[in-house]
């Protein structure tokens, strides 16, 4: 429960910090409603819609209502998928309003000890330190390789956790050894005619748990004619922090990343994770009030591209013969890649160019799968409801391969396959891995 003094503080900060012009920019037409997964999944409850959430933020700012736990929950239940943004004719920057509001509530709300510890662990101790991410991954690797995972499953230890987390444990990829990560070179030369230099934004999860996908991405860039460099001292993009109300921490991480990439004057900064891309592209916004950083952030953002976008730009799909055994393939958009990076044609173009692939567009491919950063951990019920509805749509396509473009979505689709009892029949892959497979 929020105490009166906490409510007062939150209200005061809403008045001081919320972007009032942006709140007014929402003219409440409701065009966003059909695009919002939580509005639909909650039986059209306006308080779980973008229009409703903005009205709640404005209500607090105007002093019409006081903040309470119920309002905080309305904001918490938002996936942050930002599907409401491209359909908004007024161009309301909903994601930014959401992050500002969450940040104010987060810094003032008293949290229970376990939640506090978990947040501190994740946001301060783990993600901002790439070496710790590597160690954690190493631990996971030990767990998987030592046979411990099998033993744990046998004992039923995971049954103590929510079912979604227990299933999640099953679908985690086989992770690389730490040595492997450490020994990877920092520079890779182009193949064929040189087209550009690409600096890879390696990402915290992508460069540990999905190390092989990063390697595939590097290989594809080389084949497309890029020199690839992996700048040192880069770290997690800060998206998880930004989306969870830890904006200050995110800013520090943004600065370190900008510095790291300034050392390599590459033509492009490439990401293969829609979630990271969408946060990296906001660096200029989150640092706009810091004169020393604003222009540097702009320069960083101007060079940012997703792997599928640069491959299409460099005509990769026509340069090589891509082929796979006959199969039906569908694509699940990464919300942030689609709604924020505005990259959605390119992955489809690439997939359709593979011989042997029968591409089947999934109904609602553009809506969130329920992964949404750490949403599936903090709001498991809604996440699983969304995921199960998603798997019904997957089934309709008869696809054997579900392609994604973001690690969270990839894990979520794997989880969905497990939940739908389709493991062994249907697989989920990252687009970079599939393209490399089609190339070999």
């Amino acid at each position: 429960m929020m105490t009166t003094s906490v409510k007062k503080k939150i209200q005061k900060e809403f008045k001081e910090k919320m972007d009032y012009d942006e709140l007014l920019n929402c003219m409440r037409c409701g065009f966003c409603l059909p695009s919002c997964p939580t509005y639909i999944e909650t039986g059209q409850q306006e308080k779980y819609s973008p229009r409703g959430r903005i009205a709640l933020m404005k209500g607090i700012t105007d002093g019409v209502i006081e903040p309470d736990d119920d309002i905080a929950h309305s904001l918490d239940l938002c996936l942050g998928c930002r599907a409401c943004e491209p359909v908004c004719p007024s161009g309301v920057k909903y994601g930014r309003l959401l992050e500002d509001a969450r940040s104010i509530i987060q810094t003032n709300k008293k949290q229970s000890v376990p939640v506090k510890l978990l947040r501190k662990g994740i946001f301060e101790e783990l993600f901002p330190h790439q070496n710790r991410m590597e160690k954690a991954t190493n631990l996971l690797g030990f767990y998987q390789r030592s046979g411990l995972s099998k033993a744990v499953r046998k004992i039923g230890f995971m049954e103590l956790f929510p079912s979604s987390m227990a299933t999640m444990e099953k679908v985690l990829p086989e992770v690389p050894k730490r040595k492997e990560i450490k020994q990877r070179p920092r520079f890779f030369e182009h193949e064929g005619e040189k087209k550009a230099t690409a600096a890879l934004f390696a990402g915290c999860l992508m460069d540990t748990m999905f190390f092989s996908t990063n390697n595939a991405t590097i290989k594809l860039l080389q084949k497309a004619g890029c020199d690839v460099v992996i700048p040192e001292n880069q770290l997690c993009c800060g998206a998880l922090h930004g989306h969870s109300g830890e904006l200050e921490k995110a800013k520090q991480m943004a600065k370190q990343n900008i510095e790291a990439f300034e050392k390599e004057e590459a033509d492009y900064i490439i990401t293969n994770a829609g979630g990271c891309g969408a946060f990296l592209i906001e660096y200029d916004h989150i640092l706009k009030d810091e004169p020393e950083w604003a222009d540097r952030a702009k320069h960083f953002v101007s060079r940012l591209k997703d792997i599928s976008a640069i491959l299409v730009d460099l005509d990769f799909q026509n340069k090589y013969r891509l082929h796979l055994p006959e199969q039906t393939v569908t694509y699940q958009d990464s919300c942030h890649l689609r709604n924020v990076m505005q990259t959605f044609e390119e992955p489809r173009t690439l997939l359709k160019s593979i011989e042997g692939v029968h591409y089947e567009e999934m109904e609602g491919a553009n809506t969130c799968c329920g992964s949404a950063g750490i949403y599936n951990i903090v709001e498991p019920d809604m996440a699983m409801q969304i995921l199960d509805h998603k798997m019904e749509k997957v089934e309709k396509t008869h696809a054997k391969t579900i392609v994604t473009a973001n690690p969270g979505c990839l894990l979520e689709m794997k989880l969905g396959i497990e939940r739908a009892n389709k493991s062994g029949q249907v697989r989920a892959v990252h687009i970079a891995d599939l393209l490399l497979e089609a190339l070999d």
């Binding site: 409440r28 409701g30 065009f31 709640l56 209502i65 119920d70």
Partner: protein, 477 residues
Amino acid sequence: MSSVKVKKKLNKLKEQLADIVGTENVDDTTSGRLVYSYDATPNYQSLPDLVVAPGNAEETAAVLKLCSETETPVYSRGSGSNLCADTCPVKGGVVLLVKRMNKILELDKENLAVTVQPGVITKTICDTVEKEGLFYPPDPSSMKISTIGGNISENSGGLRGLKYGVTRDYVMALQIALPNGELIRTGGKLTKDVAGYDLTRLFIGSEGTLGVITEATLKLIPKPEAQKTILALYQDIEAAGRSVSKIIANKMIPATLEFLDQDTLRAVEDFAHIGLPTDVKAILLIVQDGPQEIVDRDIKKIAEICRSEQAVDVQLAASEEEAEKLATARRSALSALARLKPTTILEDATVPRSEIATMVRAISEIAEKYNVRISTFGHAGDGNLHPTCLTDSRNEDEMQRVEAAFSEIFEKAIELGGTLTGEHGIGMTKAPYLEWKLGEAGLQVMRGIKQAIDPKNIMNPGKVFADESKERMVAAK
């Protein structure tokens, strides 16, 4: 009443409502109430005490009966997209959501009729019947989100009004829950029906002030065989207006004949990125549908007329997809304009179509006179314009000028034989002006009807009937 007493009364009402619709369908949380305190009309907000979502007609009637007995105001609400503050619970009380009544009950191909519950989204109806080769023409710009119950209550129009008419022309029968708790049925799947007063039409456009629509049977027509879309570009706004009148005078009725001025074009293009021309002063978006040879002939003739009226270019949409994109972009016009300024106030003064050019000119003169920025788009073909004022509600001085400008626009529209509102409704925004259109005697008839059906004035109070009418600026002619 003391606040303790009020609270007690509300708690009791909440319990009684829960008995009717189930606890999970009654909400009295702050967040639940705030999100139904507004609609798409700027500057109107008021929190209801309770929000209730009945699941069927019987529950709806029972809720109304209870509200009658307790003299609690009730506001029925679909998606809250209306533009005259009709869904704003201005006197507190209960917001009644129709969202759970969202089924298409029957598609009757023999009688060309579809029967629906009030919470069905308009576009869902259009899409469903079109799959069967049938057509439900009313297409308000909000059709992607608006409910049919809301459309009927507001008698919504749309882009196809010129040729096909408005919601009113497609409602064959209604089931209505009355404030006294009775359910009545009006009309039927009949082309001819003169049994008694036309109650169906009475409830259409009654803006939630008489009862709650719980079921509707809609008339369908065969889907037109072909369709073509053109854009005519102008550097002279009045030339566009003249083209409209001339097309109609040449005995052609296009399905759609929309006008967009430069401000609107730029805002829409900024959102939709579909390559709309932004360097011209105005465009007409013209659609004709019907048998292929008639469509071809009309479009050719229309293009000639536009050129003869100084259209600088006439472009044909290359594909159905492109045509659809243009129509969708047009439907976003109002919300897209909202990106230009913090507050967008839109009206829909309507004139006989022969007066379109005069009205367009009058609007720009009035805007200049009061020094306010007014963008205009709208259904030029049926005389229904949407002058939209781009302003900032925080600027009090400007808001006064905006109000004065709109008063003069209303005055002008009525002077030209037009009306205050073509399709958005009277609600709260135009209630003080209604007497200008109806006269005191006309208003008196409406008050009598209201008194007969809703004697306790619980249905959407504060709407349509103003406490006080506005003084006219010039003597009525």
